[in-house]
Each structure stands twice: as C-alpha cells, then as structure tokens.
C-alpha cells in the first residue's frame, strides 16, 4: 500500500501535466495587448484616397478589427462568417488590410463581398506589428474606451463568433 503510493502520485502528476499539455495550443500565442489600450494609429482608408482613420475616431463604440489580406487563404475561409456578422449589424467591423496591394485588396472585396465599415490600408505592416499580428487573419474586440478586450487568432468560425465574440460585444455594449 505504502510502497505504491509514491509511484502512483508521481504518475498522477505526470498524467495531469500531459493532460493539460494536450489542451494547449502552442500556435496561439496569448496577446499581451488584451486588457490594454489598443495602439494608436492613423492609416489611409482603402479605396478612399486622401481619407484617413485614427484609433481615436472610434472611441465611444465597441468595434471589431479584422486583420485580412487578399493573399491570405484562411481569410477566404472566414469571409462568409465575417459577412454574416456584418449583416447582423450587431457590431461595426473595421478591416486592417495587412501588407497588401490596395488594387488587389479592392478586387478581392469586389469578388467576395465587403463586410467592413472601412478598411485601413496597412501596406508596410507597421500597424500590424503594433497590434502584435503574427498571422492573418486575426480579430480584435475593442471596447468603448479603446481597450483591447479579446483577440481571436486564426479564422473566425460561426462558433467562436456565437459563443465568444458576440456575448462579449453585448456585455461591453450594455
């Protein structure tokens, strides 16, 4: 009895660590930005020459920042979900067109539909770096005070939208 207790304990601890390891997703690096103010930016709007948008223009409303690019395959995968979310009208979605040629980006929106209130043209990817973007697509939930509340890494799915993003938006809006 006593002789088996210690090995069993060690085995249990090992299994607990491995079980926890199975639930981790190492490709999803938790963003240190969550809970902090979104980095300030001023960027030209895609398809509206001469006009710019700043982070401060969006104060006072809850909004989503969806990082996308015409060269990004996973963006096409999530696009129907983004379109649905925009159609529901529950939250304004702004695009961050990351390291893309504006002409390509406009053609892509023309072909697949444009869910964005506006898309910011981040041609050299510097605002992307400030947001800690390391893969496209990524989606940020930003509250009325301009604080990043959540980051979705990878394509938005109807499930993450329904179970995580929208409930959070409703809570922040309420």
């Amino acid at each position: 009895m006593k002789r088996t207790t210690l090995p069993l304990l060690v085995f249990g601890v090992l299994v607990a660590f491995m079980a926890a390891g199975l639930t981790l997703r190492p490709t999803e690096v938790p963003s240190p930005l969550v809970g902090k103010a979104a980095p300030p930016f001023t960027l030209p709007l895609l398809g509206a020459p001469g006009r710019t948008l700043s982070a401060s223009d969006l104060r006072g409303k809850v909004w989503l920042l969806n990082v996308w690019a015409s060269w990004c395959v996973a963006c096409r995968l999530e696009h129907p979900t983004v379109l649905d979310a925009a159609k529901s009208g529950a939250v304004p979605i702004y695009g961050l067109n990351y390291k893309d040629k504006p002409a390509d980006a406009l053609r892509w929106l023309g072909r697949f539909g444009d869910p964005y209130v506006a898309s910011l043209s981040d041609v050299d990817g510097l605002v992307g770096i400030d947001f800690g973007v390391y893969g496209v697509p990524e989606t940020f939930v930003i509250d009325k005070a301009g604080v990043v509340r959540h980051k979705v890494i990878g394509p938005l799915t109807p499930e993450t939208l329904r179970d995580t993003v929208m409930p959070l938006v409703r809570r922040l809006d309420g």
Binding site: P30, D124, F131, G132
Partner: protein, 167 residues
C-alpha cells in the same frame, strides 16, 4: 555502365547544372535577406545579436535571426530602425514583449508565470535525488547484514548439500 563515356559525361553535366542552379538560388535568397542591413556590418551584427535571442512567431522553433518569414524580415528591420534611433538592446526587447508577450524571449524574465519554467527542472532533479537516496537507505535498513554463528553456517551447508544431493 560507368565505362560508357557519353553516359558519364552526361551525368557530370547534369550534376554541374544542378549545382549551379542551387548556387544561384542560394545567392538569390541570401542577397535578398541581407539587403536592408548590409549597409553597416557593425549594425547588422548588433541586430542579429538581438534577433538571435528572440523567437520568430511564425515558425516558433526558429529565432528571429534565422527565420526567412516575412514577419521576421519586418521585425529585423524594426530592430535596426530602433537601434539607429538610439534605442538600447533592452528597449528593443521590451518593444517586442509589449507586442508579442514573454513568449518571444528565448530567455524569459523571472515572473510568477515563468517560475516553473526556470526552476522546474532543478526541482525535479532534487526530487529524484532525494527519492533515490531514501530508497537506497530504506533497502539498506530492510536487509541488515546478519552474522551467522558457526553452527548456523554448518546447518546452511548441510541444507544446501541435501538440496543438491538427490539428483
């Protein structure tokens, strides 16, 4: 087969062509990577020294210095720009941590969340050593050396002989 001179010649030509193509490819790649930094070798060395301590987030087992991903290129450019502006290595590291978290550092700072990472292996080693020592001591105690008297020796010898005997 190798005696056939035409075959051998063709084989050699093919090898040369492959080698030349590979050389050309490598040169192309290297030239493209070094381009933004090549102006100042000293600056490049500083950038690479910092980048070697940072993780590339796209291919997570590579350093920022080794990675060829577009993001790694951009971030190396960022490091160079910040150093040019007079930032210290620590300021550059802080800039990266602010955006990507402690995960970008190959040697993360000592935090509540990284204590296990830093001291876990030593704790494990200490546990194994203590456990091993206790096990050895217990087995030594469980089987104490018993001195046999002459009569007992004689009896043991007889028992052994009896056991071996009837065969």
């Amino acid at each position: 087969m190798a005696e056939d001179p035409t075959w051998g010649h063709g084989w050699r030509t093919a090898c040369c062509l492959v080698a030349l193509t590979l050389c050309g490819l490598c040169n192309g790649v290297r030239a493209r990577e070094a381009q933004p930094l090549v102006a100042d070798p000293e600056m490049q060395a500083r950038v690479m020294a910092i980048a070697a301590e940072l993780r590339c987030l796209v291919c997570q087992n590579e350093t920022l210095a080794a990675s060829q991903s577009a993001l790694a290129l951009d971030l190396r450019k960022q490091i160079e720009q910040q150093l040019t502006r007079g930032a210290s290595a620590q300021q550059v590291r802080d800039y990266m941590v602010e955006r990507y978290g402690q995960f970008v550092l190959y040697r993360p700072a000592l935090h509540a969340s990284t204590v296990l990472l830093w001291f876990g292996p030593f704790a494990l080693l200490a546990g194994v050593l203590v456990g091993g020592w206790r096990m050895l001591r217990r087995s030594a105690q469980a089987a104490p050396e018993v001195a046999l008297s002459d009569a007992e020796h004689e009896r043991a010898r007889r028992l052994l002989r009896a056991a071996a005997g009837p065969r």
